[in-house]
Amino acid sequence: MLNLLIVLVVILAVVALASVVRVFELGADLRGHDPSAVTESDNRTQSTILVFAGICYMAYVFYQIFWGPEVLPVAASVHGVKTDFLLNLTWAIILPVFFITHILLIYFGYKYFHRSDRKSDFFAHSTKLEAVWTIVPTIVLSSLIVYGLSTWQEITGPTPEETMVIELYSKQFDWTARYAGDDNRLGPSGYRLIEGGNTLGVDLTDAASNDDKVVRGEFHLPVGKPVLFKFHSRDVIHSAYMPHFRTQMNCVPGMTTQFHFVPTMTTAEMRVETGNPEFDYLLLCNKICGAAHNNMQMNIIVESEADFNAWLAGQKTLAEQLSKPVESEIKPQQAEVLEASTETPNGI
């Protein structure tokens, strides 16, 4: 019933609109105007609205620019501070371009609206002008490219020695972290070894696996120490996104990806910084992965090295967690899989 009413109202509105339009057009006809011709007064009105709307738009952008830094969280990693600087530098270049071009667009649009006593200036070509606006953007962009690429190189450069290795393992719809333990070597793993509690498919027969520690729900990082993440996925592509650390890397089934960074602020410091006593660093999934993509998260706690060591020491090793007796043999075809998945392709 309600739907029928809505349909009726819509039909009535359309009919009413049609009649109004008709009346206006007939009126114009009677007065001898062509109702579709764009008149001087249209030009004046539209160019005036252009100025008004243009100013509103620029004010709107201006307002959001100032509001912008508030939404971008404080960078809590060494490289994040650098990319934020690069971001600000880029804003500093593109915002003036934005405002200048828009002001010109609006100013020309207003100044030169059509008047029948004027004629346009026939100006079809100017090599000099065109050269200027090819060369100037080229220079500006080149410097941005050079600066951007040097930052990119620092971020993606070789991992420093003595970096702690952590595996982040994704599946629909949760994360698991695995610490490499005292040997700082992650035991090899493969999807065919997934069984029961061994959800990461770690090869328990390998010596490197025994001291690995697997944690869920939240994981901890020591402040000021480089960490190297190795990313895996067992089903579809996920993406490990840690916005406060300016870090993101896809987790792709069948290959290992990696990213390293140095966190600079503890969770406690960040709680003070943000004024939010509940604040926690987050790991989110940022690649569409299914129905619960929007709730695939893990908390990250950054703390002093001492606190971190204490926390890690309190975690059980894999061998302890999976108290099942360790198998001693692996089938040949499994060994192959293991080899394939433990090397680190760069995945071109």
């Binding site: 309600l2 006809d29 579709s36 764009v38 030009n43 609205i49 709307a53 709107y60 912008g68 939404v71 969280p73 990319t83 690069l86 971001l87 880029t90 593109i94 371009v97 934005f98 071009t101 010109l104 030169y112 004629k119 346009s120 200036d121 026939f122 100006f123 079809a124 070509h125 002008l129 065109e130 606006w133 953007p137 962009l141 941005l144 490219i145 951007g148 690429l149 971020i155 629909q172 065919r192 997934i194 990313f231 089903d235 592509i237 996104y241 870090t247 993101q248 792709v252 089934p253 069948g254 290959m255 987050l282 989110l284 940022n286 569409i288 129905a291 619960a292 929007n294 998260q297 995945g347």
Partner: protein, 592 residues
């Protein structure tokens, strides 16, 4: 659609009846209208979908009767189902990018304008042209049909990355829904290849006497370059899709490896999901320009005509389009900076990506210079053209941020991206399309659209467009990922909910504004004031045909061309425009 009286028919055409005239027409002008109307219907569907999922994003978990009315079991108690949310986003993106802005934009204007602007009686092959439309229609119908599949339509995003799109265990939409998506896309690619070949051949071979390449209107240039770009890149998407079909149905492992899902290890080994992304984006990025270039071509024509001034830097405009088209084929990797790609390769893609900004900047400055000291007539088409210049600037500039690999790490796949591409590609291309419809409506239907409704349509549309998409940049900077059903699982995003609400309100306003356009369009077809032969005082050849050109376009001989299309307000002449078919006077020299 009245008044098709003075048809000039080729010998082999009999008397037109309803079927050959409206349905199996081989007349490029009718095919153009068929494309336009199909695209408009698809546009309404795509837009309704965006309103549906914006309801969920603005007011997460709230019940809306309208959702249940339209979506039935996918919105129990009026709350959108998460899988359906992803499906709506996916089909919305697919419909908008392919059906509306590729098929719709190129199909409508390439068909309408190429023969008319170059002085040809029709496309090189009317039959292929008809087939192109029928494949397009088939593809659209199948895409719509996939909405009614039991397990839901494709829901892996319009980029259909495997393994998600390959495994029905991963998401129900990857079952039959995904199969239909792939079938629809295959038909679509065939359609666009048939169309593209035809456009290219027509432009190369059927130009009238005097219509050298450097006298062609920029619209035709744009459509020409677009067709070449499509011809080079769409086949790659087709092969990507076929390999995906093999992986899905025949047990191959092009894209799949090491997968453990639903409690079981799959047999696929050795494939790489990343391979798909390379193939997809090899089309996917040029696709951005396949939708954008025709819009830029339309704007060039409209800006020049309505400013009563030659387009500034004609050669630079052509050159920059060629440069953009070329560069667009070597930047695809900027969509993959965080896939674990070799960092060196990432640097190369950053480099090529940022270079695209140079020809884009040239275009913007040339538009601005065309307006400078012009005599601007504010038709609705001109307003949309000015709107396009604004969106192209705004969206182009944020592209400089995204193209920088070091910055993309943090904002890749966030709402920053959604804001960016909707402005630079969605809004720009849609504005170009609206501009074209308002401008060439008299050529299509012999009547004028109502200008006041056009003005209202423009101002509400651009307001709501910036209202929707500009704030998304900041949601992205705050860290909100895209393709999220809601953000309620993350208290840190709570403070941004009112922005989401505002965006949704603007989205509803923008959708309502389109009703004005549809009303105007349909009303004007039947009741609009009759058009004069050359209502905008344009130089281009399409306006030398009768108001309602028949099949064959010119009743007599095809006009000969003596000059470029932009002789507006020449200082040595009193009139402010000189159509291309007007011979030069003895003392006149060709300037451009």
């Amino acid at each position: 659609m009245a008044d098709h009286t003075e048809h000039v028919h080729h010998a082999h055409h009999g008397k037109p009846d309803f079927w050959t005239h409206y349905v199996f027409s081989q007349d490029h002008k009718m095919i153009s209208k068929q494309f336009l109307v199909t695209a408009m219907i698809m546009g309404v569907v795509g837009m309704m979908m965006s309103v549906f999922f914006r309801l969920q994003l603005g007011w997460p978990g709230q019940s809306f009767a309208i959702l249940e009315t339209f979506l039935g079991k996918w919105a129990p108690d009026g709350v959108l189902d998460p899988n359906m949310y992803l499906a709506l986003v996916t089909i919305h993106g697919t419909i908008m990018v392919f059906m509306v802005l590729t098929g719709g934009l190129s199909g409508t204007f390439a068909n309408l304008l190429i023969p008319l602007q170059i002085g040809a009686r029709d496309m090189a092959s009317g039959f292929l042209n008809m087939l192109s439309f029928w494949f397009f229609l088939g593809s659209s119908v199948i895409m719509l049909a996939s909405l009614f599949v039991e397990t839901g339509p494709a829901s892996g995003g319009w980029t259909i990355y495997p393994p998600l799109s390959a495994l029905p265990q991963a998401i129900p939409g990857s079952g039959l829904g995904m199969t239909l998506w792939l079938v629809s896309m295959t038909l679509f690619i065939v359609s666009s290849l048939l169309g593209g070949i035809n456009y290219i051949v027509t432009i190369i071979n059927l130009r009238t006497k005097g219509m050298s390449m450097d006298r062609m209107p920029l619209t035709t240039w744009a459509l020409f370059i677009t067709a070449i770009l499509g011809l080079l890149s769409f086949p790659v998407l087709l092969s990507a899709a076929l390999l995906l079909v093999f992986d899905r149905s025949f047990g191959t492992s092009f894209y799949l490896s090491d997968i453990f899902i639903s409690g079981q290890a799959l047999e696929h080994t050795g494939g790489s999901p990343i391979l798909f992304q390379h193939l997809f984006w090899f089309l996917g990025h040029p696709e951005v320009y396949i939708v954008l270039l025709p819009a830029l071509g339309i704007t060039s024509e409209v800006v020049s005509t309505m400013s009563r001034k030659p387009i500034f830097g004609y050669k630079a405009m052509v050159g920059s389009m060629l440069a953009i088209a070329f560069l667009s084929m070597i930047v695809w990797g900027h969509h993959m900076f965080v896939t674990g790609m070799n960092p060196f390769l990432g640097s190369v893609f950053t480099f090529t990506t940022l270079l695209v900004a140079i020809p884009s900047a040239v275009k913007v400055f040339n538009y601005l210079t065309t307006l400078w000291k012009g005599n601007i007539v504010y038709s609705p088409a001109m307003l949309f053209a000015i709107g396009l210049v604004s969106t192209f600037i705004t969206g182009g500039l944020t592209g400089i941020i995204l193209g920088d690999s070091a910055l993309d790490i943090n904002i890749h796949d966030t709402y920053f991206v959604v804001g960016h591409f909707h402005i630079v590609m969605g809004a720009s291309a849609i504005f170009g399309m609206f501009s074209g419809v308002y401008h060439w409506f008299p050529k299509m239907y012999g009547r004028m659209m109502n200008k006041n409704l056009g003005y209202a349509h423009f101002w509400i549309t651009i307001t709501s467009m910036y209202g929707v998409f500009f704030p998304m940049h900041f949601l992205g900077l705050a860290g909100i990922p895209r393709r999220y059903y809601d953000n309620t699982a993350f208290p840190i995003f709570d403070g941004l909910q009112d922005i989401n609400e505002m965006i949704s309100l603007f989205a509803i306003l923008g959708a309502c504004a389109q009703a004005i356009f549809f009303f105007n369009f349909i009303y004007s077809i039947y009741r609009g004031p009759r058009a004069s032969q050359n209502p905008w005082h344009s130089n281009a050849l399409e306006w030398t045909t009768p108001v309602n050109p028949g099949h064959g376009n010119w009743p007599g001989a095809i006009p000969t061309v003596y000059r470029w299309a932009y002789d507006y307000s020449r200082p040595d002449k009193d009139v402010d425009f000189i159509p291309q078919n007007v011979p030069p006077t003895a003392d006149e020299k060709e300037i451009h």
